[in-house]
Symmetry: C3
Subunit: 133 residues, 3 copies
Amino acid sequence: MDNNFVIEIDTKKNVEFIDITERIQEIVFLKKQTTGQCFITVPHTTAGITINENADPDVVSDIIAYLDRSVPSNDTRYKHSEGNSAAHIKSSLMGTSLSVIIENGNLKLGTWQGIYFCEFDGPRKRKIWIKIT
Amino acid sequence: MDNNFVIEIDTKKNVEFIDITERIQEIVFLKKQTTGQCFITVPHTTAGITINENADPDVVSDIIAYLDRSVPSNDTRYKHSEGNSAAHIKSSLMGTSLSVIIENGNLKLGTWQGIYFCEFDGPRKRKIWIKIT
Amino acid sequence: MDNNFVIEIDTKKNVEFIDITERIQEIVFLKKQTTGQCFITVPHTTAGITINENADPDVVSDIIAYLDRSVPSNDTRYKHSEGNSAAHIKSSLMGTSLSVIIENGNLKLGTWQGIYFCEFDGPRKRKIWIKIT
């Protein structure tokens, strides 16, 4: 079995964070990988990936609202003609890749940590690339 | 010897950056790892990790002060009931993991670079997970 | 052949993003690496690295302009005596390292993704360290 996997995701809103922890965990199970590293990357420039609390959904709402205030979508000073500069900026602030330890066949995350795909210019069809080593 | 290590840390302030470079370097020495990669991750959602200047402590103070101005802790628009939304936001801005090259048994860092644990909601007992590959 | 490479770069402006995708791709070709991971890190504390759109140069201009507005270079509240605190802050916001999948001898990036060295305190001679695994 190959080490490279793809998750496809249909985002529903213009800006939203989607918990993808379970879907990545499923891939680790399928691969029967007991130890190693799981690299997760987003091949888009108006989306990102971050780890944050998955218990209270208000945490993610507060992150989204902060980013909207800090990087307003309708700032007249943007030059990029597609009108989605805010999404590009947020992508670089959150980052487009991260890595998680695999231990005993599981993603090794803290108690409250979930992995979020960050849509900043949806709704769109998106991909997430996973590499297990 | 295993490849996984834990550093425990007692933070003293609500918000502070703690230089953990030496403690990570000690683990690389103990492991007698001469070449490879050192992955460092924080299993918390109100803390982070970053690399920045370790010569003048004013640099880290200025980063902390900027984050406090940009992400005020007492913004009434936050919805998360625990009152620590600013800490969660700062965690995603700084990130919760990074990787450093190991060369000749040492962490390969630039002259002025130190690795900082970023406490955003302390004081607390915290953990840092290290994996050497 | 070793797995460690260095790119040297002379930045021309105080703040600029330089597309280094081709130079990293060249190293992957030279190494004849068909599969693996390419780790890219900046040994500086007033520079960074990010992935974003490489089609319209206005995207990168908009990211630079946002960072200048969010992190003003002349804020009188900075304490660091060298006067480049804004550069240090931007470095931690963008991050100083990232990793890209290598597949079929190529960096595996999204259609619009380029890898940018972020100069925040130039012009200077800078280095980028690459490790291929």
